[in-house]
Symmetry: C2
Subunit: 256 residues, 2 copies
């Protein structure tokens, strides 16, 4: 199937979707075959890539409930080499429906094991803002976790809870889960708080923190309204360039 | 007990906690007796008011599971007239623990009905970023829902899902749930996208949208690191003044 990276953080609005879409698109532009899985009932990765949730026949929900294979639910996006497993509205009900099921945390992992299609170079999972059964499914199935971190007080505070969860998953459901790294998002170096948080996080987590950071850049928040990754909206923007840097750094970190 | 307002939006990072804390504190400064209930396992309203989650004996989790009354779990904050029902880490487990319980959606409502302490002029519930059992508990127990809306594309897109949920709650669990209004947060009138979203939302929702808006203001994101509402961090800031305006507008809307 290919190496799987969960993009996760239970804190809301910290750039999980923006990173999933734009990192996936940047790697696809570097000739990698990439699959993005939208695991958030909000379906932001789906709409951010111009796919209409209402038109989707089967998606992540159907795969988790065992009603569809991954290869039947995947759709091609307008970007070469970039594929999407879309989220539909019924994903909001999956949390409650899975709770009494056997092996509820392994549904995603089992679906990956059953995959029969062409392999991918990278698979990303855009997680919802909660340490819920959906996110636990992603962390159980993933080889790597990438934590997107907005340089703000509440986001930094939530890191402890997230690191505890990662440790617990490693001890039980997925001993092979690696820390891909912490990516700082919406960085504003003119702002003392943002700079302070960046310094604190680098002091504490060292080389686990990506060198590349994503600056606050309005082009990033405009792109989803056109249904395209930022590089197709404004390639020269700081946002697009930042995600190309992040993609290069990921490839470099994986090759060491 | 008093009028209850749930501050909700399943979209993450749209200012639910920032609004809960600063609107509650502004009303408390206007001599209203206010209770803030932290219903988010992240516990941001708790830490944002300087209360240490580790030191808390019983909190929202214990109230939902029926192990504590509200009056036994409430703590005083450093602000006059402002009380807090704190969140503890075990609240993260409440979602799964409640799913098989009888009347799982009515836990909060039942706890309000059983309240024996002194009445409040206003009660706010800071909701987590999900349309989960916790949020449904808040919407079932509330008299009003205030939707905080960041002026961004994904946030606007999520409104449809949220309005559907409110409609369903009104038809079933809580016919008395009123729309308090939509409060625009992190507004940046120099930014075309922000201005466009504001215009679209006002055109569609009309007078349901608060006149007062909350501008993006760094003092608002600094205040939680000092454990105080923004008016105690920088009263003259645009953020503090904005929430005093919001408090006045809420009082005005309720009196009509
Ligand atoms: N670097 C950036 N510069 C400017 N805006 C950004 C940036 N990154 C994200 N945004 C915007 O901030 C908002 C939050 O980002 P996003 O939705 O990607 O976060 P998320 O963690 O996926 O949120 P959720 O927790 O709701 O899933 C979005 O409106 C997005 O367009
Ligand atoms: N008007 C504002 N100006 C500047 N920063 C703000 C403003 N409102 C909120 N923030 C900051 O933006 C981030 C998100 O806000 P907040 O945590 O209140 O949103 P939330 O909806 O409660 O998030 P979650 O979905 O995780 O519960 C926080 O770091 C907060 O300090
Ligand atoms: Mg997202
Ligand atoms: Mg919050």
């Amino acid at each position: 199937f290919g190496p799987v990276t969960a993009v996760a953080n239970q804190k809301g609005g910290v750039g999980k979707t923006t990173t999933s879409i734009n990192l996936a698109a940047s790697l696809a532009a570097l000739d990698q075959r990439v699959l993005l899985i939208d695991l958030d009932p909000q379906g932001n990765s789906t709409s951010g890539l111009g796919v209409d949730q209402q038109q989707v026949e089967s998606g992540t929900y159907d795969v988790l409930l065992g009603d569809s294979s991954i290869e039947d639910a995947i759709v091609k996006t307008e970007c070469d080499n970039l594929y999407l497993l879309p989220a539909t509205m019924d994903l909001a009900g999956a949390e409650i429906e899975l709770v009494n099921e056997q092996g509820r945390e392994q549904r995603m992992k089992n679906a990956f094991a059953a995959y029969q299609g062409e392999a991918f170079d990278h698979i990303f999972i855009d997680c919802p803002p909660a340490l819920s059964i959906l996110t636990v499914n992603a962390l159980t199935a993933a080889d790597y976790i990438m934590v997107t971190l907005q340089t703000e007080f509440y986001a930094m505070e939530g890191l402890t809870q997230l690191m505890d969860t990662i440790r617990r998953i490693r001890q039980g459901l997925n001993p092979a889960l690696n820390m891909e790294g912490i990516l700082l998002t919406m960085v504003d170096r003119r702002n003392n708080l943002s700079t302070q948080v960046e310094q604190d996080v680098r002091a504490y987590f060292g080389s686990q923190v990506y060198e590349s950071v994503v600056p606050r850049n309005v082009r990033l928040s405009e792109a989803p309204s056109f249904g395209v990754p930022v590089m197709y909206h404004d390639l020269k923007s700081k946002g697009a360039q930042a995600y190309l840097d992040v993609a290069q750094e990921l490839l470099h970190r994986r090759s060491i």
